[in-house]
């Protein structure tokens, strides 16, 4: 079982060699791996760019089509709305015109009726006023004449005439059975 030293040494050197080879191989592998990773990254960036560009183009196309379609639809709706609005305005205008005409006619009738009534009332009032004034004037004349007559007759009657008038009044009271 005892190996000579040379043998051991050879084994050791062999072992070291093997180990070194292993280390070297690892380093090479790591290097290769890094290189591959960088290459993959470059490929990924290119792919991303290409996909993004494609998406942008698609979106632009879709949006463009949609906008064009919407514009057409909106224009159509606006045209329809404007036409309906015009129709309504015309209809309302006709109604309003008819209402105004009817109101004017009614007011004209009412005015004529009012004027006729006022005229009749004024005629009656004027007649009443005239009659009342005549009555007032008659009354005033009557009062003036009465006052003058009282004054003149009152002064003209003597005491004995007064007494005679009272006696006659007394006889009449007796005839009237006052006592």
């Amino acid at each position: 079982m005892n190996l000579p030293i040379e043998q051991n040494l050879i084994s050791l050197v062999s072992l070291i060699f093997s180990f070194s080879s292993f280390i070297l191989a690892c380093l090479i592998f790591v290097k290769i791996l890094r290189s591959h990773k960088e290459k993959n990254r470059e490929l990924s960036d290119e792919l991303t760019y290409a996909v993004s560009k494609k998406i942008d183009e698609s979106v632009e196309k879709i949006l463009g089509d949609t906008l064009a379609d919407s514009r057409t639809k909106i224009d159509g709706e606006i045209r329809k709305f404007s036409e309906e609005l015009l129709r309504l305005i015309h209809a309302r205008s006709a109604e309003l015109s008819a209402y105004v005409d009817k109101t004017q006619q009614d007011q004209a009738k009412q005015s004529q009726f009012y004027v006729a009534n006022m005229l009749a009332k004024i005629e009656v009032d004027a007649k009443d006023y005239r009659e009342n004034k005549f009555k007032e004037i008659d009354q005033e004349i009557r009062q003036i004449v009465l006052a003058a007559a009282r004054e003149v007759i009152g002064r003209a009657i003597s005491l004995s005439e007064h007494e005679d008038l009272v006696n006659k009044a007394l006889e009449r009271a007796k005839r009237d059975k006052l006592f």
Binding site: D138, I141, R142, V145, L146, A149, R150, I153, G154, I157, L159, E161, H162, E163, L165, V166, K168, A169, L170, R172, A173, K174, D176, L178, F179
Partner: protein
Amino acid sequence: MTTKATIDNAVAFKPFENSIFDMRGLLGILDDLTLIERSLFRDKEGTISSKARDYTSSGVIAIFEDLEKTGIEPADDSKQLNFLKDLVEYLKGLPVVKVTLAFSPTNTYLEKLSNTISGYSNKKAILDLTIDEHIVGGAIFEYGGKVSSSTLDARLDEVLTKQMTGAKP
């Protein structure tokens, strides 16, 4: 007794009644009688005229003196007082005739008017006289709620109305 007293009073009151013609005369005699009534028992004796002479000198004293001569007047104080009270009540109860004239009558005419009205009504009537020149002439009599008017003012009014309305008066 009561009947006799009533008859005596009716006779005794007549001279007082005859001395009054209008409200002024009535109020004057009522004042005199009230004054005499208050003076009757002030330590005096005798007739009413003798007791009242110191307080009034109106014509009512003369009427009492005439009554005393006929012996109708009561002798004692108590009866004299009752006599006066009855007289006042009697005079206050005399019928009043309201008369409106256009002039102030003389006393003579007033007396004549009062007597004529009293004759018509068969009882003494006192005249409540009002002077209103607006009636111009004639008179208005009011008695017992009735009125009789015969005035020149009414006649003038009537004539004027007919003239103004174009009718013949």
